[in-house]
Symmetry: C2
Subunit: 158 residues, 2 copies
């Protein structure tokens, strides 16, 4: 009951089975123990790791970076000063990223404020500039995929 086949973990973590195999191949996941028939057998823990991977990815981390963070977290007990250092570097990196994003946001908001305070916003003609963009933007679609939904991976469907 704590044993899941690849399709099952994939579904629970909302990725495809192929992706899970790929993650193992590139070293993100530790190779799963196999059943007598050669089937990979996973536990809930793997589902957690997979979910973590997707979240970190959505935040812009590469699989390499995520792999390192996973290794740190797997080291779990006995985190020596090296591990600690590495982890602290990661946090510092994230902090830097947050600061930059915050500045970026201020920049954008600044432009908007400039515009907002100005003339009446009746658009005539030249607003075609964003015609294409609004197509996507007007029907609830993600014109800007701030949280990435990389072709969704409906896992084992079809």
């Amino acid at each position: 009951m704590g044993e899941l086949l690849i399709g099952e973990v994939a579904k629970r973590a909302d990725v495809s089975a192929a992706t899970v195999r790929y993650y193992e191949e590139v070293g993100l996941l530790t190779p799963a123990p196999r059943s007598s028939a050669g089937y990979r057998r996973y536990t809930e823990g793997t589902v957690e790791e997979l979910r973590f991977v997707r979240k970190a990815q959505a935040l812009g981390f590469s699989l390499d970076e995520i792999g390192e963070i996973l290794k740190l977290s797997r080291a779990g007990r006995t985190p020596c000063s090296h591990v600690l250092d590495l982890a602290k570097r990661h946090v510092a990196g994230v902090d830097e990223r947050i600061r930059q994003l915050t500045r970026f946001r201020a920049h954008l908001a600044g432009e908007i404020a400039k515009w907002d305070g100005e003339r009446q916003p009746t658009c005539q003609g030249l607003c075609q500039i964003i015609a294409g963009a609004s197509d996507e933007a007007t029907d609830g679609a993600p014109m800007t995929s701030h949280i990435q939904q990389r072709r969704s991976a409906r896992s084992t469907r079809q």
Copy 2:
């Protein structure tokens, strides 16, 4: 004197000339006016745009997204309600990203705190887990490229 050739803008924005051509090709930059010989002629404005592109990219935006933001900012005068809406969506997206990153940071920091409070950090043996990682981490290298330095693009060198 306000006229720059492609190598010049490239150098000033710290990208390669090929990248500038590529950006024009995919519609990120508006096609530059040509000299009689067919050379692209740019202004300082393009350098600014290129720098913006690199910054936005480092923050995890795709070229498509950046292209939209650039269009918004080029619309400059007469920003109709549509443009304004679009821009506000972008800000909202950035806000969301910042919130997620902040939570991520808290998670990482939490783990570190747990460890930090614990046993003595003398690492014996099993610390090999991070041997590979420390290789990169110990010599000032960017084990985690939080601000991306995508194969650098030393522009027109060599």
